[in-house]
């Protein structure tokens, strides 16, 4: 059996007292399309940086194709889009793509990488004159130009407009369909759902779920009920309701539940006075809170 494309073995990464990644082990096989999902600060970027050899794990080890991630032979087989990295502003798009092509043993033609990123019309533009979304597309062109076996994308759609994002996700889906391995981090559940066949949920440095998007969605698909109530919150007011979490601030109440209809029916039956009622899909941050709570109590 061949080595996994990406492997973390009991990786822990500390920055001073902060534990960003806590004893994470995972393997990603060739051809997988994997989303690493988690709220900001969950340890996604740290995990990616360890996979890429950009950060040294405090303990444990990372492998790319069975090699040290810092090995240039391993680096020659991957493409990387990092959050918040810079590019030389005084080069033209076609110059920097051609430059990056020269780093790889079997690069795509520069023009092809530029076209895949949808930057044909900007090929002669200086990098410093690109818009935020175009910058992201340039990073994609740079990540693609070595015709990588594994593509690492750290929060790739940040700063893109709707159309740019749609095109981008389509491009990634196509790459996946052609058998490329893709590892992307995101805090958008829809993005993970749309693209990946495997979702790894990370929270506070731990892998708390590693499964198909459908499975994950069913676990985080809660609804959020918010309302104000003029009555002072009483002990036991919400007892026995099918709730994942309760937050009460003064007269503002936020409930997270998988069964909003039942909760509302019961609240009305109990005569709780409800104003400014809102029922909405739980955002991921809350869903994660619910998930981690669930994990702890399980």
């Amino acid at each position: 059996m061949s080595d996994p494309a990406v492997e973390l073995v009991h990786v822990t990464k500390r920055y001073g007292d902060v534990v960003a990644v806590d004893d994470v082990s995972l393997a990603i096989q060739s051809g997988e399309l994997v989303a690493m999902l988690g709220p900001n600060g969950a340890g996604k970027t740290s995990s990616i940086n360890v996979m890429l050899g950009l950060r040294k794990p405090t303990s444990g080890s990372a492998r790319l194709f069975g090699l040290d991630p810092k090995d240039l032979k391993a680096r020659s087989r991957i493409g990387v889009m990092l959050q918040e990295s810079g590019v030389p502003g005084m080069l033209r798009v076609e110059e920097i793509v051609a430059l990056f092509c020269s780093y790889y043993p079997r690069p795509l033609p520069a023009a092809q990488a530029i076209a895949m990123a949808g930057l044909e019309e900007k090929a002669k533009t200086l990098v410093k004159d690109l818009s935020g979304g175009q910058h992201q597309r340039l990073y994609l062109a740079l990540a693609l130009c070595g015709d990588p076996e594994v593509l690492f994308l750290d929060e790739p759609t940040v700063g893109m407009d709707v159309e740019g994002r749609r095109r981008f996700l389509q491009e990634i889906a196509d790459l996946g369909a052609r058998g490329r391995t893709v590892v992307l981090t995101t805090h958008y559940l829809e993005e993970a759902d749309q693209l990946a066949r495997r979702v790894i949920v990370i929270d506070r440095g731990h892998v708390i779920a590693d499964s198909t998007p459908a499975e994950i969605k069913s676990r985080v698909a809660g609804k959020r009920i918010t309302f104000t109530t003029p009555q002072a919150a009483q002990d036991g007011q919400f007892a026995g309701l099918p709730l994942n979490s309760i937050q009460v601030e003064d007269h503002r109440v936020r409930l997270l539940t998988n069964d909003p209809e039942e909760v509302l029916r019961e609240l009305f039956r109990r005569g709780v006075e409800v104003r400014d009622l809102e029922v909405a899909g739980a955002d991921l941050e809350e869903a994660f809170l619910a998930m981690t709570r669930h994990e702890v109590s399980a």
Binding site: L54, S76, P88, M90, P105
Partner: protein, 266 residues
């Protein structure tokens, strides 16, 4: 599959990579007029302001070297070292500030290729600055040197720029992007002055004349002045000093680089 994989190149060839990188580094420098224009034009401008007026006067009473020749050699050195200290120092500090090093680090570009490319591009700009200055000094200032003197001056000025590559490199990794221009100028301008590049040391205060022999630019200046015929007792000590400074500055650069990498990638 494994046979095919084994037959494939595992990493890209270094020659084309270096050529592309050097070209890119050169364009990056050239397209920042604040750097390229000042690097190429400034030595000639100083020559116009200070050197032209008394280009044909003897450097001091009884000297057969004209002020114009002395100042040509001084400005050639000033120009090349300026390119190295400022070009490397400020551009590296800026690139770090914009986290370009993070992107480069994730590619299979070997760090030495990157640095050699940077050095090559800076050497080309330094060479252009010498050519421009030499043309200006000989046309506008009427400076005449023998072919051997021109060649010796050019070669020595370029050689003397090498330790300053290390210094600029070290400063680029020690200074922040905002402080780099100030820090490099603060170090470079006064030492250029104190090394006698603008006025012969005989005209400078005693305390500067006491410091000068320990300054790298002063030792380099001896070598270029000697190239245009300024008699010096013995320049072998100056070559030794330059070798020492080269080692010291490159060690400084290596230390600064490691320190920066350790902070960022550990």
């Amino acid at each position: 599959m494994s046979v095919v994989a084994a037959a494939r190149l595992q990493t890209a060839p270094l020659g084309p990579m270096l050529a592309r990188q050097a070209y890119a580094e050169f364009m990056k420098l050239l397209r920042v007029p604040a750097f390229s224009v000042t690097s190429i034009v400034l030595p000639s401008m100083f020559y116009a302001f200070i050197g032209l007026g008394n280009a044909r006067e003897p450097l001091f009473k009884g000297s057969d070297v004209a002020f114009g020749q002395y100042f040509l050699a001084s400005m050639a050195l000033y120009g090349v070292a300026n390119v190295m200290v400022l070009g490397f120092g400020i551009s590296l500090a800026n690139e770090r500030g914009q986290k370009q090093d993070l992107l480069m680090k994730s590619t299979p570009l070997p760090a030495p290729v990157y640095f050699i490319a940077k050095a090559l591009s800076a050497l080309v700009i330094a060479f252009i600055s010498i050519v421009v200055l030499s043309l200006f000094a000989s046309i506008a200032g009427g400076v005449t040197l023998t072919t051997a003197q021109w060649l010796t001056l050019g070669v020595r000025a370029m050689l003397c720029s090498i330790p300053f590559i290390g210094l600029g490199f070290g400063l680029g990794y020690l200074a922040g992007p905002n402080s780099a221009p100030a820090v490099t100028n603060l170090i470079y301008l006064p030492t250029a002055f104190a090394s006698g590049l603008f006025f012969p040391l005989q005209l400078l205060p005693q305390f500067i004349r006491d410091i000068a022999p320990y300054l790298p630019l002063y030792r380099a200046a001896h070598l270029v002045w000697n190239a245009v015929g300024l008699p010096e007792d013995d320049i072998s000590a100056d070559w030794l000093y330059m070798a020492g400074y080269t080692v010291a500055f490159f060690l400084l650069a290596l230390w600064a680089y490691r320190r920066d990498q350790g902070k960022k990638f550990n």
